[in-house]
């Protein structure tokens, strides 16, 4: 087997095997498990880096075999795949480090890390899936492997959240499956292709295809937390912080958003979707979700719940970008896929740090935490500002590109939505920042723990700082090669100028 076929498989296997090994390890061998985790994460990062370089050079990494009559299992690394794969590889490493610290001294770590690795393997599979069928395969695998993580704590609330999560996502999966099967019946096995498949299609099929499009987007929208079907997301907050981080930044919601990206661009083709008028309603829905999520976030007192609603809002930016016909909109949506991930994971890391170090879960308990935990608070502040869209942070690049894309697509109202959303973001993030830095400590911390020299456990200390650095750098150095922005531009170029 040649290297081009081997690398995608290796990328998958690195975490899959890690999962298997971790499941096999006894609960008590913590060091070994950590080692395996980190090794696998680093290995995957290396593989993804190598593949990214290859894709940049135009190498076609693909492997496929026939799985069922007329359906093949296909892994293929195109530029879009690497965008997502890169994100998950980088953030997996950090989240793993974080999770090791976060779960120190807690039970069931073997189970946790096993499913954690499975979850990442699924994400990698979603990224590298070469056709809709393979995508679905990993998409559902993701659903299943995240469930144990969501209910990890085993409390009644966690179980309730898990139940809702599974109801929503499985329901979405069913709709998605119906859409995929239908599409398969209409058009056969559809590999992802940069230009889509339906530039010229029998007009008699338009009606059915539109219906299929609606099914697919509805199914994917569940995970992406789009408006009417977002209910699971805030509840899933009961999961441990690294899980929330992973769920929100990399895996679950992104899988949904990424799926919509794939469907719009690589299955239907943006031209077809545009001509059929499929984009406009989606844009309205996404815009509504953006505002709705922000508005709901305003009223949340629980820090993680506020972040969750923020995710609902932010992920719809990606979808909004997709619906803006034109390269700039595409770039905006795609780049936000990464930027949102980096920013949101930072926020969740920080929220986890507050919870783990100070026992703080609510926004109004955070008064004066900046002095007690400056590094964490700096990271939080940076990420919050990034979310608002303050330049030169990651969020600004997104907002700028999205705005420019909206204007280029003659959809001026989207700019209004963006600005409004930025204001709302500011309205729910800045008070937190204010509490962190400008208010004195009001009451003793609910449950403080101390770890010697650093403000918190070293495993928890560094990841948010690294992601903060990332979120500054991806914005500051956006035009450089291999930055998210230029990678998204590369994708857009390959998409619009085939």
């Amino acid at each position: 087997m040649s290297l081009t076929a081997l690398l995608p498989i290796l990328a998958l296997l690195s975490s899959l095997l890690a999962a298997v090994v971790i499941f096999a390890l006894p609960e008590s061998s913590h060091r070994l498990r950590t080692l395996v985790n980190l090794l696998a994460a680093v290995l995957k990062l290396g593989i993804v880096a190598a593949m990214t370089w290859g894709v940049f050079r135009g190498v076609d990494f693909s492997v496929s075999f026939s799985m069922l009559p007329g359906v093949s299992f296909m892994l293929r690394a195109d530029a879009l795949a690497m965008l997502f794969a890169g994100l998950s590889a980088v953030l997996w490493l950090l989240t793993t480090i974080y999770a090791v610290g976060y779960l120190e001294d807690s039970p069931n770590r073997s189970r946790f890390f096993g499913f954690f690795s499975l979850c990442v393997a699924s994400t990698m599979g979603i990224a590298l899936a070469g056709n809709l069928f393979t995508f679905f395969l990993f998409y559902e695998m993701l659903t299943l492997s995240t469930y144990p993580l969501v209910v990890h704590r085993g409390t009644a609330r966690a179980l309730q959240a898990g139940r809702n999560y599974i109801i929503y996502t499985l329901g979405g999966g069913v709709v998605l499956l119906l859409g995929i099967a239908w599409l398969h019946g209409l058009a056969g096995d559809l590999a992802f292709r940069e230009t889509g498949h339906f530039q010229s299609v029998d007009p008699a099929l338009h009606g059915q295809l539109t219906l299929v499009f609606v099914l697919l987007v509805a199914g994917l929208g569940v995970k992406a937390g789009m408006f009417p079907v977002h209910g699971w997301l805030p509840q899933a907050m009961v999961a441990p912080a690294p899980v929330s981080a992973l769920l929100h930044a990399v895996a679950v919601v992104k899988a949904g958003a990424f799926g919509i990206v794939r469907v719009v661009y690589d299955i239907f083709g943006i031209d077809f979707a545009y001509r059929q008028g499929l984009l406009e309603p989606l844009a309205w829905l996404a815009a509504f979700t953006v505002l709705y999520g922000s508005l709901r976030a305003l009223w949340q007192l629980d820090l993680k719940r506020r972040l969750a609603f923020s995710t609902i809002s932010q992920v719809s930016y990606i979808i909004l970008g997709v619906t803006l016909f034109g390269p700039l909109g595409t770039v905006g949506g795609l780049v936000h896929l990464l930027h949102q991930g980096i920013m949101k994971i930072t926020l969740f890391f920080c929220a986890g740090n507050y919870a783990e170090t100070l026992g703080v879960h609510r926004v109004d308990e955070l008064d004066g935490a900046g002095a007690r935990m400056p590094a964490t608070s700096i990271a939080f502040t940076a990420a919050a500002l990034g979310m608002i869209g303050v330049p030169p942070l990651a969020g600004f690049v997104t907002k700028w590109t999205l705005g420019a894309g909206a204007l280029a697509a003659q959809m001026e109202w989207v700019v209004l939505v963006l600005l409004l959303s930025s204001l709302l973001n500011a309205a729910y993030f800045l008070p937190i920042v204010y509490r962190l830095w400008f208010l004195p400590v009001a009451a003793p911390w609910p449950e403080e723990r101390r770890w010697g020299r650093l403000e918190t456990n070293a495993w928890l200390f560094w990841p948010p700082l690294v992601t903060m650095l990332l979120l500054v750098l991806v914005g500051l150095l956006a035009p450089t090669a291999f930055s998210p922005l230029s990678w998204a531009q590369l994708i857009a170029v390959r998409m619009y100028l085939p």
């Binding site: 189970r111 695998m141 139940r163 239908w182």
Partner: protein, 487 residues
């Protein structure tokens, strides 16, 4: 070939003479032989194509011929895999101290022999004898131990099985009376389009077999029997035994259904299957006992099988093939997954010392491996990718779409969701952390490994569905004379 038929029977006879412990060693050896023989036959067929094997040197219709085609050998191999797993598990799981356990092995081997007989059978009466062999052995296994509840379940099972067999035999009688042959191929060769008597015969046989397969309104006997038996036995029963009668029904339908069947019959069977899917899943969701959940899940999963009838009747050839492939995959994946599930459930029961679902609280602390196997098997039952269950569902979906019978789509999708509901109910129970009990028994590693292997097989089936299906579609040399392949 001969080894395939001989070994189980001989081992049945031999193991009857030994006690449980020695029988165990003997049986494990026998399983090894069986697996090897099955494999070599499988490879022989995969390489050279299928053939008829005339027993005792007498060809059909005078003698009894075995039909050795890709489907049959695949099921033989499946049986070898599942039965071996159950056998190994049983060897560790069952308590050798109980003196009646010695009868487990001979019954087990007879069951195996009967299954092989059915997979390979091409003679209607021989199939009847094979069915009876299976039924009685199964009843014997259920009744083993002789507690009142087990006896009761065994009796219900026995009566259902006997009635089903007789209905089948009545059909055979009518067919023989009209066509003068017992060979299925022979009958298929001479049967015409409008034969009311033969149609009634087919109806009788299907009804009898449906009863033995526990199709929806006739499923009452299954949950008690499968629920009360020891876990390895339940695994065998749910995984393989019910499939035997379905297999015969399917063969009959595919050979004769296009002429003797009707749209009404086909849709009716499909509708019953659909009802089974929904009702069985719902019942499974409501059961307080773990194994009852799994047993009702069997009722539901069997329902899917009956979608074969509408999806192959009066449809285009490729659609029919899709449906057949889907059903085949469903049979195989359900056999693997359900066996895994029952074995894992047995482990869980062993470790919490209670059969109730709500006693599982906190078990995910201690038994993640068996729980994981259970979950994996559940994933296949739900029809989530990449499992065999999913591959089956996908093919059936495609067949439904292509044949325009969209109403089955709803059943397929809803069935998956309902399956998720009852599987996740178990999961949910096991994740609950507020239980005070810390008293868990850790089953031996072997017990934990076996369901995992089966579940992984079910999982992997989806990935290699295409090669598996291609073996099933191997060319079958009907015209070729008897080519007795010796082991």
């Amino acid at each position: 070939m001969a080894g395939l038929l001989f070994t189980p029977l001989a081992w049945a006879a031999l193991s009857l003479l030994l006690d449980f412990r020695r029988g165990r060693w003997l049986s494990w050896l026998g399983m090894l032989i069986q697996v090897l023989v099955s494999l070599s036959l499988w490879f022989a067929v995969a390489g050279g194509g299928g053939f008829f094997y005339a027993l005792a040197g007498w060809e059909a219709p005078l003698g009894i011929a075995l039909r050795v085609d890709g489907l049959a050998v695949s099921f033989v191999l499946l049986t070898a895999a599942v039965a071996t797993a159950c056998g190994v598990h049983a060897g560790v799981y069952l308590d050798p101290g109980k003196s009646w356990q010695r009868y487990f092995w001979p019954l087990f081997w007879f069951l195996w022999a009967g299954l092989n007989g059915v997979w390979l059978g091409a003679d209607l009466f021989n199939l009847y004898v094979g069915l009876e062999l299976i039924s009685l052995a199964a009843v014997g296994l259920v009744a083993l131990g002789g507690e009142a509840a087990a006896l009761r379940a065994a009796l219900r099972y026995l009566f259902a099985a006997l009635l089903g067999s007789l209905a089948y035999l009545l059909g055979v009688a009518l067919l023989y009376g009209q066509f003068g042959t017992l060979s299925l191929t022979g009958i298929a060769g001479v049967v015409g389009a409008t034969e009311p008597a033969a149609a009634l015969a087919l109806l009788l046989m299907l009804a009898g077999l449906a009863l033995k397969t526990a199709l929806f309104p006739l499923h009452g006997w299954l949950p008690p029997a499968h629920g009360i038996a020891k876990s390895p036995v339940s695994a065998l029963l749910s995984g393989l035994v019910v499939k035997a009668s379905f297999y015969i029904a399917a063969r009959l339908w595919l050979e004769l259904g296009d002429r003797l069947g009707s749209q009404l019959l086909a849709q009716g069977l499909g509708a019953l299957g659909a009802a089974a899917v929904l009702w069985g899943s719902w019942r499974a969701f409501r059961q307080p006992y773990l194994k009852q959940v799994v047993a009702y899940s069997s009722v539901a999963q069997i329902g899917y099988l009956f979608l074969l009838f509408p999806l192959t009747y009066a449809v285009a050839e490729p659609v029919s093939r899709l449906a057949q492939q889907g059903i085949t995959l469903q049979v195989i994946s359900h056999a693997l997954a359900k066996a895994a599930m029952f074995l894992a459930a047995g482990n869980l029961i062993l470790s919490v010392r209670s059969k109730r679902v709500d006693a599982l609280g906190g078990v995910s602390h201690f038994l993640p491996f068996s729980l994981f196997s259970f979950g994996l098997a559940g994933v296949s039952l739900m029809g989530m990718p990449p499992t065999g269950g999913f591959a089956a569902k996908w093919l059936l979906l495609q067949a439904s779409l292509a044949s325009g019978q969209w109403w089955w789509i709803a059943v397929l999708l809803l069935g998956g969701v309902l399956a998720a509901a009852y599987v996740f109910r178990i999961y949910r129970a096991s994740f609950l952390e507020d239980s005070v009990s810390d008293d868990f028994y850790h089953p031996p590693k072997t017990l934990e490994a076996i369901p995992m292997i089966l579940a992984l097989l079910a999982l992997g089936l989806g990935l290699v569905a295409e090669p598996v299906l291609s073996v099933l579609a191997l060319p079958f040399e009907v015209a070729a004379g008897v080519t007795a392949v010796q082991p």
